[in-house]
Each structure stands twice: as structure tokens, then as C-alpha cells.
């Protein structure tokens, strides 16, 4: 099975692969471009930048998102920043160093050539965004400002206050709207893709539901691009937006696109904890807080005193104790896992005993409140807005939350999925981050895919399609797909059970978080698979969705998303079970060192798993893309 997957890495040394590719990629003449149509699903950084760039080139683009405006895609929520190897700080940064940091951060589980290209195109992105009017932070001299971010020793992160994602997204949204103005982009907001249509094995269109009218529509094109973001919402409680979903990629998966490393999920250590059973969302608090905040739990698990009443010697600063060299700045996966250990040992704090303290009292004593306010004032305000608590007076309560999907649709170097004519970009694909994503690299990846990579690789594909007529949406394959979608909707509406989709999502999410979250074990995963199968059965018979198909119906929207989660969740567990090693965010309790660190197995598991749908969620076929390291020798990550 191993050679089903062709990664299509170009010839030549690492640093020349992308330019070699661009030199030889096929072109489409401007005259022919206007005869070709492309569907781009998603208007986050990946989708908006791709749609705008393709339209500028002269293609006809149809752009879809489920929000009421493309500007609201969840890229908008990214706070920290975006990386680029500009070396403005003269601190020894380079494309190679950025590539290496990313590869190492991902625990040597990504494809060298893709990761290199990400670093190589990073500088261009800063130029592009600046030209669009993105107000990045500036030094007093007027030049762009940088800061450092987790896991690296240089300052390569560009930022726009704590709203980098918002500002980058507005840049690409405006570029997109400019093309709407020229007529090259047709915009379909409040539309949800519910199926992919294949004609003679090629992706030729989608079925989408107009969320305002309930109408199920057909859209045809010469190629389809999925830029639909991450699926962390499968855990229900996460840093994602309420509507984030796996439906587009999952339905493409069921039509033949392979899913790669689906179980690799980044769980972010510094989020606001769940405070009650009705909570819907775990807000991310910037990682930068760990620069001055100290993380601790009471030594005694029955301690009911208020934080400030617990004396110093009765506190366990467990990160400082376990990782003296990195202390509170240990990488995300390690910080999250350690918090879980404490919580599982009954030492969690707060009403639900599900959090740990992040304490600024030492820093306030040392530097004064004003300095701390200057550094983190906006975050302390946000914390107060949500919790009502003043973190200058008592420690914050934080806990880990699902945050980023390293897994996604398998794509080759050209970002093609295993279905001809179907491409996947941004967080929706699996490509560049390996088993753990470094902070500030995913805004970058979404942008690089959309602005700089896809326009070349899609054109290389379209060059062979210029003779193809406009796709006929009356083709029997469209009938079939539309009927299937309608039948599924009808099924949801007529089940008339007792539990809402959200209730099912919560049950699934806590099962997954518990057994396929921060740490995984054979026993737990096998149990989870069984439980998920039972839950899926219950979902089929006990779901309740009110109302009709032909109207605004948010419960119906949720039902479709949760139905897909019910299947994807099992694949995540199967994937985690199959990988008998620990790497990055994937921590199998059976595979750890004597010091409880992840134990990678390069002899047996140096591959990306790419799962093929086999008519049944319990029966996927494993394909392996062997990872070949030509330039770098994988080493052991150590943070002691």
C-alpha cells in the first residue's frame, strides 16, 4: 500500500525545490483563464487569499463561507502573531533556521520540502500584508517590530497588537472584496458545503445549503479548493468558534480524499477553564502570560483554602520543579500534559477542580503593578470581563483546551488531495506542522498556501483542463449527491428523539478529550472506540431537531456537523491507537521515557498515516507516506 501516495516533491536540493517547481509548472494563458471556474470553500486566511489571488490572475472564483460575512472566519481570532524569516533583528535568523525550528517543533513528523517552502515564502507574506494596509506594530523609527515566541531563540514574530489574525484576515478579506467588485469572485456567505461532487473521478463541484433559505444548491467548477479550517470543535470545549466543523473535509474524505494524522491535536495550556456545564467555549489567554506568571497547584489535594491563603511551602510549582531549565516556559504539549497530570491527581483547583493557578504575585512584587499592567493589561482586562476576577489581586485560573488540528486532508507538495481536482489549504490540510505546531506558524501557513503556493499548483492542474467545458450541474452525479444530502437532512428532522446535537457533541467531546486528548493509551482508545460507536448509534435514534429543512434552522446545521464528528472521532482514535510511539502532541502513556517524556520511534513510525475511507467508519484503510529526511537528522527534543 505504501506507494499509493505520491508526495510529488520536486527534484533538487531543498533550497531550490520550490524555484525549480515554479520554473517548470504549467501555465494557463490569460485568455483561457477566464473560461475556467474554481470553487474555494472557506474565507479564512487560506481561502480568502487563494480566492483573491486566483481572481486577480483572471480565473472565475466562487467563494463560500458559513458565517454571514467572509470577514468573520475564525482566523480572525488569532492573537499572538505571524512568523517570518526576515532577520530584521539581525539575530541570526534565516530560512533554514526557521525551517529547522518548525521541523523540530513538529517532532520530525512533517515533510521536509513543505516545511522548507513555508519558511521560504514567509518573508513575502509580510510584504504582501503590509502593502494591503495591515497595521503591524512598528518601532519608533518606523520599521516593523518583532517579538519572540515559544520554541525558538530568535525574534521572528510580527504582530498587530493582540489581534494579528483579525488584521491579516481583514487584509485578505479586502483583497477578496476588491475582486467581488470586479465581478471575478461570486460570494456565497451563509452557505455550508455538504458534499463534494465527483464526475468521472474528478472533483467538479459541491452541494451547499443556503443557511438563510434552507435551499440545497449545486455549484460546478473545474476544480475545488477546501480551506475550511480546523476541527477542534469535535472536543466541544475548545478555542474554536461555534460553527467550526469538519464537514467539508469529512465529506470529501468519504468521496475518496485521504485523511492524514487525524488524531494530532494541539491542546493549548493557557485557556480559561470550564466553569459550569452550560459553558460553550474556552477562551484562549495568550501564551505570553507564561513569561511572568508562575503555574502551581496546592500540594494537598483536599486543600479548600483560597489561593492567597495557601502558604508558599504548601504550593507545588510543578513545571519549575520538573523542568528546571524551561520552567513555566516549557513547550505547549508538555505544559498541557503536566496540568492534566495534576488535575487527574485530584489537585485541580476551582469549583470543578479542573484548573491550575497562574500566579503573577511574584512578578508584581518584583517589577511593580505598572510594568505588569503595561505588559499584559489587555489580557488582565479580558480575564476580568469573562470571569469577573481581578488577576492583579489573585492568581488566574487556567486549564488546557483543544486548539489546533495538525491532522487534516492529506495533500502532496502541490496541495492536491488524493482526489484529482480537489485541493486542501490552510488548517484543513495536514501538511507543514508535523506532530506539534509552533506558535505563530499557522497564520503563516494559511497565508502561504493561499497567496503563494496554490496559485501556482492549481494552475499547473488547470493547464490540462482548458478543453473541459463548463461543468454541467444537471449531471446525474449532482442529482445523486443532492439526493443524498436531502435524505440525510430528512433523517435528522424525522428522528424526533430526546437529545440535541449539542448534547451529543458534549458527550463525544468529553470522551475524546479524556481518551484521545493530552494522553492516550491502548486500553483507553479501545474503550473510546467502543463508546463512540455506541454514541453514534444513539445519535441515529435519539437526536432531536425541531423545525423544517426549508428555513433558517441552526439546530439542523449543528446536527450535520455532529454527525460527521461522530465518524471522525472514531478515526482519530484508530489513528492514535495505530501509532505506537509518542511524538509531539501525541502522547501514548505506554511509550515514555523514565522521566515521563515522549518516546519517539523513528524505526517504525517515521511516516504520516493517510487513512482511506472504506464504506464504514470502523474500517478505514491505512496508507503510509514515509517521511524521508534528506537534509536534517531527526534528534530527540529535550527541555530539561
Amino acid at each position: 500500500m505504501e506507494n499509493v501516495l505520491k508526495s510529488e516533491i520536486p527534484e533538487g536540493p531543498l533550497s531550490e525545490k520550490w524555484s525549480n517547481y515554479k520554473k517548470t509548472a504549467k501555465l494557463v494563458s490569460p485568455n483561457n483563464r477566464k473560461k475556467l471556474e474554481v470553487i474555494v470553500v472557506g474565507t479564512g486566511l487560506a481561502g480568502a487569499s487563494a480566492a483573491a489571488s486566483l481572481a486577480e490572475m483572471g480565473y472565475n472564483v466562487k467563494s463560500f463561507c458559513f458565517q454571514d460575512s467572509p470577514r468573520r472566519a475564525h482566523s480572525v481570532a488569532a492573537q499572538g502573531g505571524v512568523n517570518a524569516a526576515k532577520n530584521y533583528k539581525n539575530d541570526g535568523d534565516s530560512v533554514y533556521r526557521m525551517f529547522y525550528d518548525t521541523l523540530k517543533g513538529g517532532d520530525f513528523r512533517s515533510r521536509e520540502a513543505n516545511t522548507y517552502r513555508l519558511a521560504e515564502c514567509s518573508a513575502n507574506l509580510i510584504d504582501q500584508a503590509t502593502a494591503q494596509g495591515v497595521p503591524f506594530g512598528r518601532e519608533y523609527g518606523g520599521y516593523l517590530r518583532n517579538r519572540s515566541f515559544g520554541g525558538v531563540q530568535v525574534s521572528r514574530t510580527f504582530y498587530a497588537r493582540g489581534q494579528t489574525g483579525q488584521q491579516l484576515l481583514l487584509g485578505s478579506y479586502q483583497a477578496l472584496m476588491r475582486q467581488v467588485n470586479t465581478g471575478k469572485v461570486s460570494l456565497y456567505a451563509r452557505h455550508e458545503m455538504l458534499d463534494l461532487v465527483l464526475i468521472e473521478g474528478k472533483a467538479k463541484g459541491i452541494i451547499a445549503r443556503n443557511l438563510d433559505t434552507g435551499k440545497v444548491e449545486r455549484h460546478g467548477a473545474h476544480a475545488v479548493v477546501l480551506a475550511t479550517g480546523g476541527y477542534g470543535k469535535i472536543y466541544y470545549l475548545s478555542t474554536l468558534a461555534m460553527g467550526c466543523n469538519a464537514s467539508a473535509i469529512w465529506r470529501a474524505h468519504k468521496k475518496g480524499a485521504f485523511m492524514a494524522n487525524p488524531s494530532w491535536t494541539q491542546i493549548h495550556p493557557t485557556c480559561l477553564p470550564q466553569s459550569g456545564e452550560y459553558q460553550s467555549k474556552l477562551t484562549l489567554m495568550s501564551e505570553s502570560l507564561r513569561n511572568d506568571g508562575r503555574i502551581w497547584v496546592p500540594k494537598d489535594k483536599n486543600d479548600t483554602r483560597k489561593a492567597n491563603d495557601i502558604p508558599e511551602e504548601e504550593r507545588d510549582y510543578y513545571l519549575e520543579r520538573k523542568y528546571p531549565a524551561f520552567g513555566n516556559l516549557a513547550p505547549r504539549d508538555i505544559a498541557s500534559r503536566s496540568a492534566k497530570e495534576q488535575i487527574d491527581a485530584g489537585k485541580g483547583i476551582g469549583a470543578l477542580k479542573n484548573a491550575v493557578y497562574l500566579d503573577f504575585s511574584k512578578a508584581i512584587k518584583e517589577y511593580g503593578k505598572d510594568i505588569i499592567k503595561e505588559r499584559y493589561g489587555n489580557l488582565f482586562n479580558m480575564y476580568k470581563k469573562i470571569t469577573g476576577i481581578d488577576a492583579y489581586l489573585e492568581p488566574m485560573k487556567i486549564s488546557p483546551a483543544a486548539h489546533f488540528s495538525m491532522g487534516g486532508l492529506w495533500v502532496d507538495y502541490e496541495l492536491k488531495t488524493t482526489i484529482p481536482g480537489l485541493f486542501a489549504i490552510g488548517e484543513a490540510n495536514f501538511s507543514d506542522h508535523g506532530a506539534n505546531r509552533l506558535g505563530a506558524n499557522s497564520l503563516l501557513q494559511a497565508c502561504v498556501d493561499g497567496y503563494f503556493v496554490l496559485p501556482y499548483t492549481l494552475q499547473n492542474f488547470l493547464a490540462d483542463e482548458i478543453k473541459q467545458p463548463k461543468t454541467d450541474i444537471n449531471h446525474p452525479e449532482f442529482d445523486k449527491a443532492e439526493q443524498a444530502v436531502k435524505k440525510q437532512i430528512e433523517g435528522f428532522l424525522t428522528t424526533k428523539g430526546t437529545k440535541t446535537a449539542e448534547e451529543f457533541n458534549k458527550l463525544l467531546g468529553s470522551e475524546l478529550y479524556d481518551k484521545c486528548g493530552l494522553s492516550r493509551s491502548k486500553e483507553g482508545l479501545e474503550q473510546a472506540i467502543k463508546n463512540i460507536q455506541d454514541l453514534r448509534k444513539a445519535f441515529k435514534t435519539d437526536l432531536i431537531v425541531p423545525g423544517e429543512a426549508s428555513e433558517v434552522n441552526s439546530e439542523l446545521e449543528k446536527a450535520g456537523r455532529v454527525a460527521d464528528y461522530m465518524e471522525l472521532a472514531e478515526l482519530m482514535c484508530i489513528d492514535a491507537l495505530q501509532r505506537e510511539e509518542s511524538c509531539g502532541a501525541h502522547f501514548r502513556t505506554e511509550y515514555q521515557t523514565a522521566e515521563s517524556e515522549a518516546k519517539r520511534d523513528d524505526t517504525n513510525f517515521c511516516y504520516s498515516s493517510a487513512w482511506e475511507w472504506n464504506n464504514n467508519p470502523s474500517n478505514p484503510i491505512l496508507n503510509k507516506e514515509k517521511l524521508i529526511f534528506e537534509t536534517v537528522t531527526p534528534s530527540v527534543r529535550s527541555y530539561k
Binding site: P70, R72, V76, Q166, I544
Partner: protein, 248 residues
């Protein structure tokens, strides 16, 4: 605590709407406003009734998708806060809360509290951008921008496009929203070349969408979750007049 709700229910843009009464007996202080509505909806769905439709997505105050009139105030009583960031601790046991959609001619009701704000997108489409194609950008540091200018541009760029300014305005004007984009791009050298063309087409579009005229009541800034300044409107008017004169 016990909360009484009077919520605007309207099946679609054609139907007539009305307030319906609901009571929730056990509302926790730490619930967000939208989570409070979630609990109401859960109850309604379980009873086989149709839940209250409202818009929301990020639930962290940045996407701009949420928004409703809460006791007559866009996004509710807490200053500089979106509906999703409002929490029930801002209310008292026994309170009655009126909840309505953002109302404006340019925001037709879709259902219940959901409105269609595409008119704001249309304003951006008409000129709210810098005309630069992918690949044309010069080296970023080739155009230094003073720290203060970049920060001022950011202040205007922080608009989340929620439409609260329109809803809070007695004229249903989109002047605050439109002027914020004009100001951001005008403050940056990258955007300056197109200012006069931009301001003319965006103002024209604003009128075509059916937004009212600004009469400087300044209600918009008060209810804007991002505290976007009304000085942007003055700047827009100045640029507009300048462009009109120069184009004569």
C-alpha cells in the same frame, strides 16, 4: 437567579414579529449572555418548540457576528463589550430583559434576532481596500511608518463590523463603520493614493444601501464595542468634501 425575558420572535423577513415572554429560574452569574440563551433554547428544543435564532460564532468578541439590542442598548449594558462577552453577572435576580434584533432598513431581519448585514460588506466592496495584487508588494520595510501613525491606523482598523453603530443610531447611519475603514487606509502611505476615489465610492455605496445620514448624535461610539472614535466621521467628511472639490 430568576430572569424574565421578552424576546423578539419573527419567522422571516416577510412575517410580522412580536415579543414573547420566557422565564428562566436558575441562571448562574458566570453564564455568558449567549449561554443563557443556549439554556433557554435547550429547553425550547426539548419541548419541541422552535429555538430563538441568533447570530454568533467566535464567542470571544472579535468576529463581529453576534449582536442584539439588550434593553434598548446595542450589545447590552456593559461598555466596550460585545454581546458574547457580556455575562449574567451584569444582571440581577428578578430582572426583565428585552431582547431585539439590530434594527435598520439596511439590516433586514432573517429570523428572530438574526439580521442580514451584507450591506456592510457591500460598502467595503465599493472601495475599502488597497488596490494591490498578490506578488506586487515591495519589501515591507521600504516604507517606514511612524509608530504613532501605525497605532492610529490600528485604532480605526479594530472595527469588527458588527453593526452596533447602525443599530444605536436614530438615523441608522453606517458612518462610523465606513469612516473607520477610510481613516485606517488614509493614515497609511499604502492606502493614501486612492483616498479620494475610495471615499467617494464608499459614501455613495453607503447611501445606496439605505443607511441614513449622520447628524452627529455620537450614540454610535458609545455603543461600539471597540470604542471606534467619532473623529473618524469628521475625517471622512473632510476627505469627502476635499475629493468632491478636487474632482470638480
Amino acid at each position: 437567579m430568576k430572569i424574565h425575558l421578552k424576546i423578539w420572535r419573527q419567522k422571516d423577513s416577510q412575517s410580522k414579529g412580536e415579543f414573547k415572554d420566557y422565564t428562566l429560574d436558575d441562571v448562574h452569574q458566570e453564564l455568558s449572555f449567549l449561554e443563557m440563551l443556549d439554556t433557554l433554547n435547550l429547553k425550547l428544543v426539548k419541548k419541541g418548540e422552535y429555538p430563538v435564532e441568533f447570530d454568533h460564532d467566535c464567542r470571544e468578541g472579535i468576529c463581529g457576528q453576534c449582536g442584539m439590542m439588550i434593553n434598548g442598548i446595542a450589545h447590552g449594558p456593559l461598555k466596550n463589550t460585545t454581546t458574547c462577552q457580556l455575562h449574567m453577572r451584569s444582571f440581577k435576580d428578578g430582572d426583565t430583559i428585552y431582547i431585539e434584533p439590530f434594527k435598520a432598513a439596511a439590516f433586514p431581519v432573517v429570523r428572530d434576532l438574526k439580521v442580514n448585514r451584507s450591506s456592510l460588506d457591500h460598502i467595503i466592496t465599493s472601495g475599502g481596500y488597497v488596490s494591490v495584487d498578490t506578488g506586487q508588494a515591495p519589501e515591507a520595510n521600504s516604507i517606514p511608518i511612524a509608530h504613532e501613525e501605525a497605532e492610529a491606523a490600528f485604532d480605526a482598523a479594530a472595527c469588527i463590523g458588527c453593526g452596533a453603530c447602525v443599530a444605536s443610531c436614530k438615523n441608522a447611519s453606517a458612518a462610523l463603520f465606513t469612516s473607520a475603514k477610510i481613516t485606517q487606509l488614509e493614515l497609511l502611505p499604502q492606502g493614501q493614493t486612492e483616498t479620494s476615489k475610495r471615499v467617494i465610492s464608499m459614501v455613495k455605496q453607503m447611501e445606496e444601501e439605505g443607511f441614513g445620514h449622520c447628524t452627529n448624535t455620537e450614540a454610535c461610539q458609545v455603543e461600539c464595542p471597540e470604542d471606534i472614535s467619532v473623529l473618524n466621521i469628521a475625517r471622512m467628511n473632510y476627505e469627502y468634501n476635499k475629493a468632491k472639490i478636487l474632482n470638480k
